[in-house]
Subunit: 460 residues, 2 copies
Amino acid sequence: MSKEIRLNAFTMNTVGHMSPGLWTHPRDRSSHYTDLKHWADLAKTLERGRFDAVFIADVIGIYDVYNGDPTSPIRHATQIPVGDPLLIVPAMALVTEHLSFGVTSSVSYEHPYPFARRFSTLDHLIKGRVAWNVVTSYLDSGARATGQQALAGHDDRYDLAEDYLEVCYKLWEGSWEDGAVRRDKASGVFTDPSKVHNIRHKGPHFQVDGIHLSEPSPQRTPVIFQAGASTRGRQFAARHAEAIFVGAPSKHVLKNYVDALRAGAVEQGRRADDLVIYNMHTVIVAETDAEAQEKHAEYRKHISHEGALTLMSGWSGIDFGKYQLDEPLRYVKTNAGQSFVEAFSSSDPAREWTLREMAEWVAIGGRGPTSIGSPKTVADELEAWVNETGVDGFNLASVVMPETFEQVADLLVPELQRRGLFKKDYAEGTLRQKLFGRGDRIAAGHPAHAAREAVRAAGR
Amino acid sequence: MSKEIRLNAFTMNTVGHMSPGLWTHPRDRSSHYTDLKHWADLAKTLERGRFDAVFIADVIGIYDVYNGDPTSPIRHATQIPVGDPLLIVPAMALVTEHLSFGVTSSVSYEHPYPFARRFSTLDHLIKGRVAWNVVTSYLDSGARATGQQALAGHDDRYDLAEDYLEVCYKLWEGSWEDGAVRRDKASGVFTDPSKVHNIRHKGPHFQVDGIHLSEPSPQRTPVIFQAGASTRGRQFAARHAEAIFVGAPSKHVLKNYVDALRAGAVEQGRRADDLVIYNMHTVIVAETDAEAQEKHAEYRKHISHEGALTLMSGWSGIDFGKYQLDEPLRYVKTNAGQSFVEAFSSSDPAREWTLREMAEWVAIGGRGPTSIGSPKTVADELEAWVNETGVDGFNLASVVMPETFEQVADLLVPELQRRGLFKKDYAEGTLRQKLFGRGDRIAAGHPAHAAREAVRAAGR
């Protein structure tokens, strides 16, 4: 059999995640995001489809670059209102056994000490099915809302993230030795105090004089997810990430990303297969090709161009409100000179894109490619993406929620399973064990191990 | 009928909450605190017993005053390890319909902007069954662990809490007007931007230039819980709290608390019955008085004196490790001169307590009184407490988890119901509506209203 294809569900505790305007579709239930049962039902669907994990995006702030104010995102519910991503997880986990959860949390707003406890708590409660999507926040509006004068420089944010992660690793890996917890009712000893250590961290941004508040959870360090695409972001990913999310619009762009990420990990002393890489992808699948195309056409009627431009402006920092919808992208590119537009239009350099076309692409599932067709057609396409790029799998956003995920689970996954390209059952164990098959703990060569040793050395 | 008696369950995401040593009891399941199903099962028990809410304590830090180091709490699991209180709530809420959740969160470790979103998210997901137990952290170890040189002064912490709450009120009450959210699929308008406001808060501790990230939740402001017993803490409670937890060891101490708290609320322009007051209380109930006494004797065999002294040292700041267990308390009081010991021994001024006796009192359910006996005996006692003090109800900790709560639900509550002193069914609606019967929103006269008006004024 070829390499197994992996799927993640990409979602957000909000109304308009990656498909601006589609919340207005009659069958779309995104606006039920405030209902815990909505999420519990989604979890059951995803587990039926043997998705690895649900990757829950988050953003603190608002997309106010488009037209320079927050009117458009508020009107169109472009990732606002947005709820805390963590609180839907325990309910989704209670009704599932194997589905894992990649939760986005920024290093910009909370001290790592209570944060590390929060993720340990979750890893305990849901038995090692936790990943942390590490982000350094990117919206100026988020900085202003939390009393920061302006967003720290991009590289500075990654420096802070390094220190933040080191604190977390020390707490997760170094503070409580294996065997510290005895739970011994007969002797009355719960924990052996000689095996619990103050981490004594003095970093450039954070100082911690204390022990971790949680006993070691199944994975200790949650699986580290990362989605940064900048040069500094990719360095950070090569060093820390175990699963990486990219948003490449074409195979040649994706292959470059995949090769660079794996080479980067090896440079950092890790194995190339210590990384699982997912590309953003949108699937519209139906019994037949014709039916799928019809569905796509029907979905397109609900696109919000303004919502798409609002998202694109927030991501890129370019105010697309200054351009006409039918202007060619090369004109935008010349004026704004931004890598976002370049990366997008490079997917098909021969094609002359307009801003409208780009917005319509983005409005169905964001920046990644879209596969539309019968289970056979879509499976053929996904197989080609894997074979030609070396990517491990796909991060699928919904177009219509939860219809997209239901159809993937019920139509596409069985086709992939028939081809021997998709697991019929989950492997046992934690997310890390499921992804890599080498145990619950983070792989050798990862900087978490050095952090553990630093705690030991400080204690001597 | 006499006044209805209210019950809350008092617990913590930890092993040894209020009954040090009892985790070693053969039937005790406290050490299953890392299992989500343990909490979901507890929620079902509490809903069967028509408890108002489960009040989840929390502490960031460790009780290292006893003997001046953290050895004892680690060994005895005295509130360490301790998990994040919030993450057990969504799972407990998914399997219940009416039980509410009072979640402790400190104002000391996180900016109010993401915090306010977290509680709005929870209030949405669990349909208005949320309370926030506001704490200003009290352990030096927590300050050191988060890079603060020393814990801020007690009054300073309350000043910071005032600013923190003002930010939260502005976000919860002022940022999104009623009617802002239209969810209108036909027009494509999710929210009317003209009804969403930047709160523009410039306080002494926090500055917020942004809108709230959440749309208005059922209660907007969660029900405000408070448990501070100091003079400044009680001022704060009189101004902000809707439910107050006290730990009075005797009726005359409790009556003084209750009268002072209600008078304080009235001074602040609120109604005396805008406050629900619960006293900490421990119940050991069985079919007969003899059986209950036997059970108590059996529980006592599992007490950890060292664990109790560790808790008491952490609460009071007195290192009880310096005293002999059989020393009279007046000796400790003379040496340490602390209000904690005075308040305790004032419960029965004629009695000569030793430190051992105090530790044994504390080891079964903490500082509050204990009622032991048949349903009739315990109900008589609780009724007397309510009638003689004006308290509204009791905050019951477990001695053996979850046995204590099961027996209250199955033995005590039916007896109280027979007497017409306890609800047979929950009222419909949010926690605030259930407690006060005057709607989902915070009562007039509460400072949350002034905060909303301040946002309106700033927007003009």
